[in-house]
Amino acid sequence: MSFLMIFKVALRAIWRNKVRSALTALGIIVGIAAVIAVIAIGQGASTQMQNSISGMGHNLVMVFPGSLSSGGARLGAGMSTTLTAEDGERIASEISHYVLAVCPMINSQAQVMYMANNWATSVNGVGPDFTVVRKWDVGEGSFFTDADVKSGRRVVVIGQTVATNLFGSENPLGKTIRVRNMPFKVLGVMAKKGSNAMGQDQDDILIMPYTTVRRVLQNSIFNNVNMLMVSLHSLDDLKAAKAEIESLLRMRHRLGKNKADDFDVRDMTEVVDSVTSISRMMTILLGVVASISLVVGGIGIMNIMLVSVTERTKEIGLRMAIGARPVDILVQFLLESIVLSCVGGLIGVACGVGGALIVGNIQKWPILITESSIAISFTFSALVGIFFGFYPAWRASRLNPIDCLRYE
């Protein structure tokens, strides 16, 4: 019997029991739709988390000041004052084979004013490489230069939130704002960055030369910084780069063999790894749940195919009597269940994609539908049809024609 003909017979058998076929396919539809939707949402969430982490900086390694011991009492981390911007410059120049750029950072807080408006915000005192290291461009105007840093000029680049709160719809470029009552010239406005992985508004910020923060805002006599942000060419060199940074800093800080580090080198890999593994675990977990529903759908197909075989025992007997071989009967019923599950799979893919898009729209979740997830789940539905359709079809093919013809 030609394949096309068997296909037609299968389609007709399915069409004859429309309601029953639809309900059977529904099991597969739900299963496939669940798999597609869950994977789309899971992968979307995972990419978003990865994006927000990589948004913190370009291949970032952070160097913090270490703890300080004073007369046996150990002070907390970050108390050491030995980490300086010069350390950063030396890292950039001496480890340039690994390091792309270094940006020192001094954190502060300040009340800022423009005309009648005022706003409290955090201040980042940084170097000119800030835009490279944080992967964060200036939206309007320009960033300050090396010269501004060297002479500690009172210039500032503001975040979008600060711009809105101080200037409203006015153009901030070239205006003078007062930071702790001292005049600062606005050079530029940063591009919008949004909230970070922790949900903090990254646009609520004032950025100025670190030298200015130290001299003007802090009146500090030390030249230490709160952090050095080191941007690597590639994360593949992470271990080697960290080791070189550590040895360079130990040498520069003249730490003897028995002395502990007075700094702390950290990177983002642990955060990235844990986020990736959490999201992967979620996807796998939800995928397993969805697959179980697919198996349940498959059992539904098997059930209905067994009923179908029993119902059509006479037809099987007749087909055998007029010359159908066991394999013809096997293929006929197998194809019926495959068609059923594939049609269910197609509708399920459509429902899953649609459902994921709707949920993503309503909940403002990021959705990532990959071709591979569609291809895999559709293939899976076909396999479910073959797997669960085989036993009923095999049973039909083993029937004895005489018994079938006598069956009432």
Binding site: R16, E315, G317, L318, A321, I322, G323, R325, V327, D328
Partner: protein, 222 residues
């Protein structure tokens, strides 16, 4: 000889006891014969017809069909024999429900040798016209009377140009008028040279056959 059966036994095991449905049957049917097999119920005539129709295999003995030994064949070989050489007519017609007459008639040609769609359709129309249903090609079994359904079944049996038509109580479910029509139609087919083997328990139906074989207790009596 078309059919040559020698010393055929068929034993069924029902629990502990064994039933000898065929007890050493030998018979020969030549090309162009019209044979009626008679016998009361339980005589073994149905078993004999099933074996003749390659639906069942004998426990022992030989069955030459068209000169070929059939007794030891496997299921696929038997299916091919049924498809090419045998045409079945059943007591309860066994047409596919909700399927048109013409598609029912075409059914045997989908198995076995490849036939083009046009050729198949042409032959099915020709056969249905021959059995007097040329105007009802697209009627489903539910829209046809018992006699008409049986004629569709006969057309189906003829589809693959079989060597022999095997009819199992073809008039069992029909009224007297339709029964006579059917058996006379079988007779007219036989007149065209087609071999017909028919099982029946009605004497007046068997009377249309050219030869009658009586089976009793698994043996050919006459």
């Amino acid at each position: 000889m078309l059919i040559e059966i020698k010393e055929m036994y068929k034993t069924y095991h029902v629990g502990e006891s064994t039933v000898n449905a065929l007890n050493g049957v030998s018979l020969q049917i030549d090309y162009g014969e019209f044979v009626a097999i008679m016998g009361h119920s339980g005589s073994g005539k149905s078993t004999l017809l099933n074996i003749l129709g390659c639906l069942d295999t004998p426990s022992s003995g030989s069955y030459l069909l068209d000169g070929k030994e059939v007794a030891g064949m496997n299921r696929n070989e038997l299916a091919a024999i049924r498809n090419e050489k045998l045409g079945f007519v059943f007591q309860n017609f066994n047409l596919l429900p909700r399927t048109s007459a013409i598609e029912n008639v075409e059914l045997p040609s989908f198995y076995g040798k490849k036939v083009s769609n046009a050729e198949r359709r042409e032959r099915a129309i020709e056969l249905l016209t021959k059995v007097g249903l040329g105007g009802r090609l697209w009627h489903t079994p539910a829209q046809l009377s018992g006699g008409q359904q049986q004629r569709v079944a006969i057309a189906r049996a003829l589809m693959n140009r079989p060597s022999v038509i095997l009819a199992d109580e073809p008039t069992g479910n029909l009224d007297t008028k339709a029964s006579i029509e059917i058996v006379e139609f079988l007779r007219s087919l036989n007149d065209e040279g087609i071999t017909v083997v028919m099982v029946t328990h009605e004497d007046d139906i068997a009377a249309h056959a050219k030869r009658t074989i009586v089976v009793c207790d698994g043996k050919v009596v006459q």
